[in-house]
């Protein structure tokens, strides 16, 4: 299952987060853990370069795009490769909505649309959509191009 999607700025302030099946009391632990992981490894990384870590049976894949750090956490069928797929579509959608790797300001300017994209990509514990164009149309309530 997909346990968490978390987006922060480069200083570790949370911009948006979605936890699924993680008890409320464990969330702040996860938040701190992920933010520290980003602070330790993402400074100076290339845009959209993927980083990966695992802790017991849980996997974390994380990256940066512009001034924004992204983390996805999963277990079982959401292993490192599936998470790479999830993070890829999230970064693509963010880049698409912001039309470039976003600054924090640009990200917040497009906050509403980004929330909609996340809503289309991940529904609770399941990856739902994986194509940029399709998501772009879905968030405007337009039918996707025929398959």
């Amino acid at each position: 299952m997909l346990l968490a999607v978390l987006i922060s700025n480069s200083e570790g302030n949370i911009l948006t987060e979605r936890f699924n099946g993680v008890p409320a009391e464990e969330r702040s632990h996860w938040r701190c853990f992920l933010v520290k992981l980003g602070a330790d490894n993402l400074k100076g990384a290339r845009n959209e370069e993927l980083f990966v870590a695992s802790h017991k049976s849980v996997y974390v894949v994380y990256t940066m795009i512009g001034d924004v750090y992204l983390y996805v956490v999963g277990k079982d069928e959401y292993d490192e490769l599936a998470l790479a797929e999830v993070i890829f579509i999230i970064t693509t959608s963010i880049r698409d909505v912001c039309q470039k790797p976003p600054t924090e300001r640009l990200f917040l300017d497009k906050y509403g649309r980004i929330c909609l994209c996340l809503d289309e990509i991940v529904w609770k514990v399941v990856l739902e959509n994986t194509e940029k164009e399709r998501i772009n149309r879905l968030i405007s309530l337009k039918p996707p191009t025929p398959v």
């Binding site: 490769l81 909609l116 405007s140």
Partner: protein, 886 residues
């Protein structure tokens, strides 16, 4: 000219710095949300307010029930707007608000309307939102629409319904299971995502039907799967089918060809999934492994870190069972030691440590030394554990590996890391005799500058046991006595005990140890002074070079064979009186661990760590309860109480479990009953026991339960007599008998007249293991030697064909009910022989040790040699009898 340009830049900086949500405040946003009630809706403005609400929610701002409900109600008014962008935001905010708002059901009618709308996108979104807020009753109403939606020609609608199904299966499984025909149809969809979601749902619906999953896999592996994600799922389900199918041992493995063909898929995700599935096949052969290892090897040099990580992680696992299969990848893995991602580098190193040969150890250690300085403690611990295993594998290399460990012990590091190193050194000292002296000196140097009290005391304890047995024990005294001067009271007390052990074991050192101990009686701490005084008196001889008597040695070196938790409980229960505390009254049984802990992965070899403490003992509580019942007061001392055995299924009207209490000549069954029906009161509750299949038992007493109200557990008892000293076994059938009276749950009023009724319970067995307590020993070899072979009984048994060696070992452990020691209950995969060490206390408080040697042949026939030592000849014979009858 430059001025405006600068100004523009400044402006841009400001723009970049300030967040559009700067100074956002919940109260103000809630005020703004009133625009949702305007008769003339401004979609743009409404969307902005929703975005602010989303931001607040995502920032962890909590809305009170009233606030959330108020906003929720306002949001429902936005359904009037036809603006598509706004409608999409409305769907999202309803989902976000629904967990915290009341009366979310109010939005149902609007959503139902959208669900039947001609606009496909309304339908898809309405389904997703409805499923978020629905309950069982509403779901029955909309079920028809959902079933239609699953086979909708629009893939977005179908996917929405299918993913809803995956979520609803958790809460309303019986309803979702009725959709399997539609889901089956959706699996054949041409839309890739629909097929992926349908496959996931169908497998979950049918997961308990092995045949159905097998059929599903068979048909899909022959057909077309459109998306890589669905293909990965299919590979997983295929592995599950392979795992659950009976082992044929002849011919090719079913579905292997499918897995192997997936190694040539165009998507890396699928290739990896197939490779991993192959490596995880049980009893996989080298021929089957080779193609999987080849693709994983290619991934090791991929430019994508995720692929490198996945590959090295899988190879690391394979290396544990098939190290030779991975050796071809060693060169690729060596280059990963310098990988930027430290997780990848650590995995590469630990894999290399598993696959390397004796000649490559020195080269590897050089590489690791450079690597250790720039990784975090958690990675270092993994490396240390791998080095420990390597040293045990190649004992001749102990010198360089021990040096490596002692070097890193001197460097900076946290407690867990240091503990891992110390544990490793201790294990090497225990297992490699040549490494003992140098290892002990490394530990001595470490405690000279150790900031962790726990580690210092543990090392001092270990030194006290191993140090006196070395060629020159005197050289350790200086390090130990330094502790008495330089450390805190806990360490000082430990050092005093260690000194006493040297004095007891090395007669020549005794006078000098006496001088040192005498100095300790002026210590500022009570415990240190008390210990010093105690040891000065125990050792005897007044500091002369004389042999220490056996009792003193037993006192100093004997293991505490009582679980600390039990001792603590007994001490807490002891009330100050004339009668001194009697240590023999402390129960010795190790209580079984809770389920969650049992599921924890196999024990790692323990170094210095004390045996894990069990949960608080309930033995005392049982003992008090039974002694308070006059009928059982002359049964003597309670030997053992079993864990509760369930006699009813979960969620039945009456829940009953039974605890078996074993005395020397009696067995008492304590039936714990719970009435789960609010409308009933049970009276005169008893259990009618038929002991016709338990010849050695005679019923002697029973104690019915007067009244059993709803949800208030009560107990009824049955007592049986059995011949003393005999491990009588038998089967008992049970019927719960009672008078049932109706209760009005609203007023609690009970009707006067009741009806006699009976309720059939499961059978109960008394088995040989009930007469055995699980009591472990810290060092089996010492215990075995000190027990002596006076009452040793050895015999060989054929256990017939078994599923596996591990299954046979576990069956014998369960049959005897003894405590496995030193992790010997774990059988290495694919091993042909195994030795298991068991310890326990038999009825009559007789200590028993058993050494079981198993062997398995090609046709899975298992043979066992059982050697039993105990303090009583009859008990040794009884253990053999249990095995021969079992």
């Amino acid at each position: 000219m430059a001025q405006p340009l600068v100004k523009k830049d400044d402006d841009r900086d400001d723009e970049a710095e300030y967040s559009p949500f700067l100074g956002i405040e919940k109260g103000a946003v809630l005020q703004e949300a009133r625009v949702f009630n305007d008769p003339q809706l401004d979609p743009r403005r409404c969307s902005q307010v929703i975005t602010k609400l989303l931001y607040l929610l995502n920032q962890g701002d909590s809305f009170t029930k009233v606030e959330a409900t108020e906003v929720f109600f306002s949001v429902t008014k936005l359904f009037q707007s036809k603006d598509l962008g706004l409608r999409r935001m409305v769907y999202l905010i309803i989902k976000e608000l629904s967990p915290s708002a009341d009366e979310v059901i109010i939005v149902t009618s609007s959503l139902m309307k959208d669900m039947n709308s001609k606009t496909d996108m309304y339908r898809a979104n309405a389904i997703r939102v409805l499923c978020r807020i629905t309950d069982g009753t509403l779901l029955t109403q909309i079920e028809r629409y959902l079933k239609q939606a699953i086979v909708d020609k629009n893939p977005v609608v179908a996917s929405a319904a299918l993913v809803s199904g995956i979520h609803l299966l958790q809460t309303n499984p019986e309803i979702v299971k009725r959709w399997s025909n539609e889901v089956q149809e959706a699996v054949q969809s041409r839309a890739a995502l629909v097929q992926f979601h349908a496959l996931a749902l169908l497998q979950q619906i049918r997961q308990n039907d092995r045949l159905a999953v097998s059929k599903l896999v068979t048909s899909l592996t022959r057909g077309t799967v459109r998306s890589p994600l669905a293909q990965c799922l299919l590979i997983r389900y295929t592995s599950q089918v392979i795992r659950e199918s009976p082992n044929t041992h002849t011919g090719d493995r079913p579905f292997y060809d499918f897995l192997e063909s997936c190694l040539r898929h165009k998507a890396e995700m699928v290739i990896f999934e197939a490779a991993r599935a192959i490596t995880e096949l049980s009893g996989v052969t080298s021929r089957e492994l080779t193609p999987a290892i080849t693709v994983l090897q290619l991934f090791l040099s991929s430019s994508k870190p995720v692929l490198r990580f996945a590959a090295v992680r899988t190879l690391n696992k394979v290396a544990m069972t098939h190290p030779m299969a991975v050796t071809n990848c060693n060169i690729d893995m060596e280059s990963l030691i310098s990988d930027q991602n430290r997780s990848i580098a650590t995995l590469a190193i630990t894999t290399l440590l598993k696959t390397g040969n004796e000649s490559s150890v020195d080269r590897l250690m050089k590489q690791i030394t450079n690597f250790m300085s720039d990784i975090a403690d958690e990675f270092k611990i993994v490396v240390v554990e791998a080095i420990r295993s390597l040293c045990l594998k190649f004992p001749l290399k102990y010198r360089s590996l021990m040096n490596f460990l002692s070097n890193i012990l001197r460097e900076e590091g946290g407690f867990e890391y240091k503990k891992a190193i110390v544990d490793s050194i201790v294990i090497l000292i225990r297992d490699i005799p040549e490494a003992k002296e140098s290892g002990l000196l490394h530990l001595c140097e470490f405690i000279e500058d150790c900031e962790f009290t726990y580690l210092s005391t543990q090392i001092l304890h270990f030194l006290g046991i191993e140090g006196p047995k070395t060629t020159d024990p005197s050289k350790y005294i200086r390090y130990i006595y330094n502790r008495v001067h330089l450390e805190n009271a806990t360490v000082r007390a430990a050092a005093v005990s260690t000194l006493a052990k040297f004095g007891a074991m090395v007669d020549a050192l005794k006078p000098r140890v006496f001088v040192l101990l005498r100095r300790c009686i002026f210590d500022s701490d009570d415990e240190v002074r008390d210990r010093a005084t105690l040891y000065l008196n125990t050792l005897g001889g007044d500091g002369e070079v004389v042999e220490t008597n056996k009792d003193a040695k037993t006192f100093l070196f004997g293991a505490l064979d009582i679980p600390l938790v039990n001792l603590e409980t007994s001490l807490k229960n002891y009330e100050p009186s004339e009668a001194p505390f009697d240590i023999d009254s402390v129960p010795k049984e190790v209580k079984s661990q809770p389920l969650a802990e049992k599921k924890a992965p196999g024990k790692k070899p323990t170094g210095l760590g004390a045996p894990a403490a069990g949960p608080p003992s309930t033995v005392d509580a049982y003992e008090r309860l039974l002694s308070s019942i006059p009928e059982f007061s002359d049964f003597g001392k309670l030997f053992k109480s079993s864990a509760p055995v369930e006699l009813t299924e979960a969620e039945t009207e009456y829940a009953v479990n039974v605890v078996k209490h074993i005395f020397d000549r009696h067995v008492v069954f304590q039936y714990n009953c719970t009435n789960t029906i609010p409308e009933q009161l049970l009276e005169n509750v008893s259990v009618i026991v038929d002991a016709s299949e338990a010849d050695d038992f005679t019923e002697v007493a029973s104690k019915p339960l007067r009244s059993l109200p709803y949800d208030t557990p009560g107990q009824t008892f049955m007592a049986f007599e059995k011949p003393e000293g005999i491990t009588a076994v038998g089967k008992f059938s049970n019927v719960l008998r009672f008078i049932v009276k109706e209760v009005d749950p609203t007023t609690g009023e009970v009707e006067e007249d009741g009806v006699e009724d009976e309720y059939q319970l499961e059978d109960l067995e008394v088995v040989a293991a009930d007469y055995m307590m699980k009591v472990g020993v810290a060092n089996f070899r010492n215990a075995w030697e000190s027990m002596g072979d006076d009452f040793e009984r050895v015999d060989e048994y054929g256990l017939g064909p078994r599923e596996s060696l591990a299954e046979a070992v576990s069956a014998v452990i369960n049959l005897l009910g003894m405590q496995p020691c030193e992790g010997t209950e774990v059988v290495a995969t694919n091993s042909r022989s195994h030795t298991c060490l068991l310890s326990g206390v038999f009825l009559g408080n007789v200590r028993v040790l058993a050494r079981l040697q198993f062997g398995i042949d090609g046709s899975r026939g298992v043979a066992m040699k059982l050697a039993v030592r105990s303090e009583d000849e009859a008990v040794s014979d009884a253990i053999h009898e249990i095995v021969s009858c079992g």
